[in-house]
């Protein structure tokens, strides 16, 4: 067993999940089953292989240009200008579970 009860509790805590007793034991079984399959990746030698985080850096690159301009995926124009259009205030709070019309309201933050 790679993943233990303690790991499940720790990871659930990191992920802001509580999980019932039943869910925790199912999670223990499933994570071990999946990671058992994933362990086959260790068969591959990858010391000299660069990690790939995304596809966009691997094509449409123009080496004549510099920095982010080199990519076929430029920075969003509104971000480049530093002016991101915001949602109108009322639209932004419209879906809020609890609001006073100006702010999102949540239960008390400080616990004792």
């Amino acid at each position: 067993m790679r993943v233990t009860d303690k790991d499940v509790a720790y990871v659930a805590d990191l992920a802001n999940l509580e999980l019932s007793e039943e869910e925790r034991s199912a999670m223990l079984r499933d994570l071990n089953s999946i990671l058992g399959h994933v362990d086959r990746l260790s068969e591959l030698k990858t010391e000299d292989v660069a990690p790939m985080a995304q596809v966009s850096g691997t094509f449409t690159v123009d080496p004549a240009l510099s920095e982010s301009e080199r990519y076929g995926y430029p920075i969003r124009d509104d971000v480049k200008e530093g002016l991101r259009k915001s949602l109108p205030h009322d639209a932004a709070v419209k879906n809020a579970p609890d609001t006073d019309g100006t702010f999102f309201q949540v239960p008390k933050v400080i616990e004792r």
């Binding site: 869910e23 966009s56 691997t58």
Partner: protein
């Protein structure tokens, strides 16, 4: 008035010549949804008001003799992971049960600008996580071809709606095969474009480096028309590529003679159903008859793709889904402190598969395991991408089965996550490498279940991909109808 106009071209011409109206067509489709969707379960939300308003505008244009846009009056439905202004968008999850987005997904905006009538939002696996549509928090979708079977997933509603004639075309999303696999299971055409070809702005994020939006329809030609409409640079998505969009429809008629079609033995391995193998091999023979040269290629890291995919996809998902905390929108569980609110909201709002993936992703990214799992998977992703790069030095497209089997029964795999994940074994590679892939119907099993032929092409070469798929579909239809 029943029109029985079920292709984009015939419908648009009929509206232009005022033999029918966009409003009559939309009404007919809503009637079909009412008649058939009770048994299928493809739709989660209908937006009749929005549809009829758009249809009215199209009818007005036709009455005034104005030139009609390419998708004028075409009834289209959208997977419920793409946001629609003023129309409830759930991502198939309880946590977004009451969410009314304030803006439109770019792909939806582009379809409507081209005249499409958006009928409603389609059922899917929760947050697009699943291969059977059984992970929808609302109801499972039934395969219109055999209602005891799954339609595939996660875009099960998108495939089923087209297969049942409840929309002419639909949009889905594909993170590991979620367009191509249900297209194969339901007997329709489904395309996952190149990463960056279609803007993801307004697509509810699952795994950002693997997520793609793409179309479903009955014909390759219609899929080409939809892609032409939604493709291209969008200033609102920095990963949408600034690469020219060809006229995919015009490109379809170019000859396929002399094109090189690769066949990789890794896609005909253990676990492939003999009936699927036979149908796909016959389809490849058909491509040879059309003058394509069939060349053996190798994609040697294919067997590692599922493992690589489930580490990367869940890692990205655990991060993307952190935003669902009950504070600003969506469901909130009753609680007395903030941390309790987060936990109770997420516990009650997410289903079992979503929690499993958040847990796996969080584990793989956590201190002590990052190098062994996440970094390792990113390196293997490089090897998988290199496999394609090497193969595409020798061939123009690669042909394979879309799935190792035909549609399985509802409930058959729902208790075994690993068995469910393996349904994506032939599709996840294209997401990891970012290359485009399409599934085209290529026959039926002895149980009359559809089988899909999958084709891959080079990055941004959807034109060749669609051309080969179209030539195959035309040849097959000539064979069937004499």
């Amino acid at each position: 008035m029943m029109t029985s106009l079920h292709s984009i071209d015939s419908l648009r011409n009929a509206i232009r010549e005022e033999r029918t109206t966009a409003i009559a067509v939309a009404s007919e489709y809503y009637q079909r949804i009412q008649n058939y969707d009770g048994e299928v379960g493809a739709f989660l939300t209908l937006c009749e008001e929005r549809a009829m308003k758009q249809a009215g505008l199209i009818d007005q244009m036709a009455a005034e003799g104005q030139p009609l846009p390419p998708l004028a009056g075409v009834p289209i439905a959208i997977k419920d992971v793409m946001v629609t202004a003023g129309v409830r968008t759930t991502a198939g999850s309880r946590i977004l049960d009451n969410f009314i987005p304030p803006y439109d997904c770019s792909a939806v905006t582009r379809l409507e600008a081209a005249g499409a009538v958006i009928l409603g939002k389609l059922n899917c696996d929760e947050f697009a996580m699943g291969s059977s549509n059984e992970n929808s928090a609302y109801r499972p979708v039934h395969n219109p071809r055999d209602k005891t079977r799954v339609p595939g997933g996660s875009s099960g509603g998108s495939a089923a709606a087209v297969a049942a004639g409840m929309a002419i075309a639909t949009l889905g999303s594909d993170t590991g095969g979620s367009i191509r696999q249900p297209a194969s299971f339901c007997g329709v055409v489904g395309l996952k474009p190149t990463y960056g070809r279609v803007s993801r702005y307004g697509l509810i994020a699952f795994a950002s480096s693997l997520d793609h939006i793409g179309p479903f329809a009955n014909t390759v030609e219609e899929v080409a028309l939809l892609l032409r409409t939604i493709a291209g640079r969008d200033p609102m998505d920095s990963t949408s590529a600034d690469v020219a969009v060809p006229d995919y429809v015009a490109e379809l008629v170019k000859p396929v003679k002399g094109l090189r079609v690769g066949v990789a033995k890794e896609y005909f391995a253990e676990g492939l159903s003999p009936e699927v193998r036979t149908a796909v091999e016959a389809a490849i023979q058909e491509l040879a008859k059309l003058g394509c040269e069939i060349i053996p290629v190798s994609l040697p890291h294919t067997e590692y793709a599922i493992s690589t995919y489930y580490i990367i996809a869940t890692g990205e998902a655990s991060s993307n889904l952190a935003r669902y905390d009950g504070a600003r929108y969506g469901f909130r569980a009753k609680s007395s402190t903030l941390s309790e609110m987060y936990r109770k909201t997420r516990d009650a709002g997410f289903g079992a598969e979503v929690k499993r993936r958040i847990m796996l992703g969080t584990y793989a990214l956590s201190a002590g395991y990052y190098d062994a799992y996440y970094l390792k998977a990113q390196k293997v992703r490089t090897l998988i991408a290199r496999d394609f790069k090497e193969a595409f030095r020798w061939v123009d497209v690669i042909a394979s089965p879309t799935c190792p089997t035909t549609a399985f029964r509802l409930g058959e795999k729902s208790n075994d996550p690993m068995a469910m994940y393996l349904a994506d074994i032939y599709t996840v590679t294209a997401n990891l490498a970012g290359v485009p892939g399409i599934s085209v119907p290529c026959g039926e099993s002895s149980e009359k279940l559809p089988i899909g032929l999958q084709l891959f092409a080079r990055h941004f070469d959807e034109a060749t991909l669609l051309r080969v798929a179209h030539a195959y579909q035309q040849a097959k239809s000539r064979l069937q109808h004499g």
